[in-house]
């Protein structure tokens, strides 16, 4: 029984870590640009596929480093050519645009890499379990969670201590004032979008090692990420972080008791939060209302 619980706690931690990476990227874009990026799950898949293609030449570690950057680059192109045009329009257009984009990217991935699942090769060392007793904890799982922790800490440090990070945080609160103070808001938004895509690409590479690759691998992560943002509270990245961990853990622990409800419990949390604390756990009152 202890093993079962431990197994599910580990799972919860890992699922939660993916939710967190996805949701933080989505949240960054939502906060600064007021855009829900429906294609975020497809950027995740792109990251994974790029790593798959690059790893024969660059090796796993090279691919792990380069493919998120490439995903971010694709994000820059998408932002510059399309998303930028709809910033000042009704939110319905940004949703439709990224929704269409999600379809196109998913279909393109299917066209390029094929509709069937592909396995992602891992360095032999990462595939080993850490001990005989805890056979389900491979080094890869430890590695994955550490990367996520480093990335999240890095992101928060970046937002806290650098000039650009400061501008992003300020822009979340009042973009107009930031623009008036002479900050190039256009570039700031592009950069911010790219950071979001970078996080998606990184989660894609990590997820590929765990569950393999398929064209709609990001779809199952998209909804929980939305819920993580709502539960955590719009406008608060820390909230998103907690939201992601909370629903990841809740889903995993429900699996111990009643596996069929593991998905439903996420929605249960969503309803509860909307009912009791509509602004989200750490959300600012007045944002988006």
């Amino acid at each position: 029984m202890t093993q079962v619980i431990l197994f599910n706690v580990t799972n919860g931690l890992i699922i939660g870590a993916f939710y967190v990476l996805m949701a933080l990227g989505l949240s960054l874009i939502l906060n600064l640009s007021n855009v829900i990026n429906f294609a975020h799950g497809n950027f995740l898949a792109l990251g994974g596929y790029l790593a798959y293609t690059l790893s024969p030449t660059l090796g796993y570690w090279g691919a792990l480093l380069i493919s998120p950057l490439l995903t971010a680059l694709i994000g820059v192109v998408v932002e510059r050519t399309m998303i930028r045009r709809i910033y000042n329009r009704d939110p319905v257009y940004s949703l439709l645009l990224t929704f269409g984009l999600a379809f196109v990217i998913q279909d393109a991935s299917r066209y390029i890499w094929g509709p069937n699942g592909l396995p992602m090769g891992l360095p032999a060392m990462l595939g080993q379990p850490i001990t005989e007793n805890l056979f389900f904890i491979t080094w890869y799982r430890i590695f994955m969670v550490s990367i996520v922790i480093v990335t999240v800490v890095g992101l928060f440090a970046f937002l806290r201590y650098t000039r650009v990070g400061l501008r992003i945080r300020a822009g979340t609160l009042d973009l107009e004032t930031v623009a008036t103070l002479g900050v190039n808001v256009r570039n700031l938004r592009t950069f911010n979008f790219a950071v979001g895509c970078l996080l998606a690409g990184l989660s894609g590479v990590l997820a590929a090692g765990q569950i393999g690759l398929n064209p709609n691998m990001g779809d199952d992560l998209l909804m929980p990420s939305f819920i993580a943002i709502i539960v955590g509270g719009a406008g608060s990245l820390i909230g998103t972080l907690f939201g992601g961990l909370l629903i990841g853990m809740a889903a995993a622990l429900t699996t111990v008791v009643y596996p069929a409800a593991s998905e439903a419990v996420i929605y249960g949390i969503l309803m509860l939060v909307l009912l009791i604390r509509p602004r989200g756990l750490l959300g600012e009152e007045g944002m988006f209302s």
Partner: protein, 326 residues
């Protein structure tokens, strides 16, 4: 005759011309006669009516209240499952099944609307998406009851008995088309009345300037909630009709992709216009039918349509016409 016409004209909502109206209804009434000649089939026309009704229901919220729901497939799908489950497990009665579907979808929307009426903009939209997916997962995973991924089968629409008369809609595409058209007409007639009433005018006021509406003492949240709720009832009715049309309820009718389709139909036709969503539905349904029969890469085509509409065609067909005349 001319005075009668003038009287009708005077009662028309603004922006609607009597001859356009006659044209629309004449077209709709004669569909089974001319559509097969153009290579279409009557069930496709029924699908257009059903999706058109769902999109018009959504447009009441999106175009006439200015609030974005990206989760209306949930209420459509709940309408479909409500009707389907009733027919399969409870009674073999088409009217009762429809009532059950409408109530199921509409009440779910009403309850949820209460929770989110204070949210605005993209955040409101995000809540609607997330809540909509709840029902998708439920239908998907509750295999024994809903048929799971394969959808709900083993039910079919029943003949309707009105006193001594029987209306057998269980057979024949054309007959069911006219049945759908009659329900459609009644529903959008009601919708038109609602939008012209002081209530509908209040919704417009909220869309145009929420702050001013609030200063005038209008309870904005309650109106948004009511608009959301009514719009869900209409969409649920469309969903119930959809289940009857196909004798099948599919978990994909609950999926957020379909919500996206409803929104794009509304935008293609022109959101803020009464008939726009129907036109958008007609274009979208026919295009989708055509593309998916032509290529396996239909997703790319649909996606590109979304992108092109947003970037180059944001006002929609009727919206553009309206701007030209204004």
């Amino acid at each position: 005759m001319s005075t009668a016409l003038a009287a009708i004209k005077g009662r028309l909502p603004e922006g609607q011309d009597l001859w356009t109206l006659i044209g629309i209804w004449a077209l709709l009434l004669t569909v089974p006669f001319w559509l097969p000649m153009l290579g279409g089939y009557t069930a496709l026309a029924s699908k257009v009516l059903v999706f058109g009704l769902a999109a018009m229901g959504l447009n009441m919220l999106l175009g006439f209240t200015g609030v974005l729901s990206f989760g209306h497939a949930a209420y459509f799908g709940l309408g479909a499952y409500g009707a389907g489950l009733t027919l399969r497990y409870l009674v073999h009665s088409t009217p009762l099944a429809m009532i059950a579907g409408v109530l199921f979808g509409g009440l779910a929307g009403t309850l949820f609307g209460m929770l989110i009426a204070r949210r605005r903009g993209v955040y409101f939209a995000m809540c609607t998406i997330a809540f909509g997916q709840l029902w998708y997962y439920l239908a998907y995973s509750w295999n024994d009851f809903t048929g799971g991924f394969d959808g709900l089968r083993d039910f079919h629409r029943e003949p309707i008995g009105i006193g001594p008369l029987t209306l057998d809609i269980s057979q024949g595409e054309t007959r069911f088309y006219f049945f759908t058209l009659a329900i459609f007409a009644a529903a959008i007639g009601l919708m038109g009345l609602l939008l012209r009433s002081p209530f509908g005018r209040t919704l417009l006021a909220i869309r145009e300037n929420e702050r001013r509406a609030r200063f005038l003492g209008i309870p904005v949240e309650r109106h948004i909630w009511m608009s959301f709720s009514i719009s869900c009832f209409f969409t649920a009715l469309a969903g119930a009709l959809y289940a009857l049309l196909n004798n099948f309820a599919d978990p994909l009718t609950l999926h957020y992709s379909l919500s996206g389709y409803f929104v794009v139909m509304t935008v293609i036709g022109g959101m803020r216009t009464f008939w726009g969503p129907l036109l958008g539905a007609a274009l979208f349904v026919m295009l989708q039918d055509y593309i998916s029969s032509m290529t396996v890469n239909w997703m790319s085509f649909i996606g590109v349509i979304f992108i092109l509409v947003v970037l180059f065609f944001p006002r929609g067909l009727l919206g553009m016409k309206r701007r030209a005349t204004a």
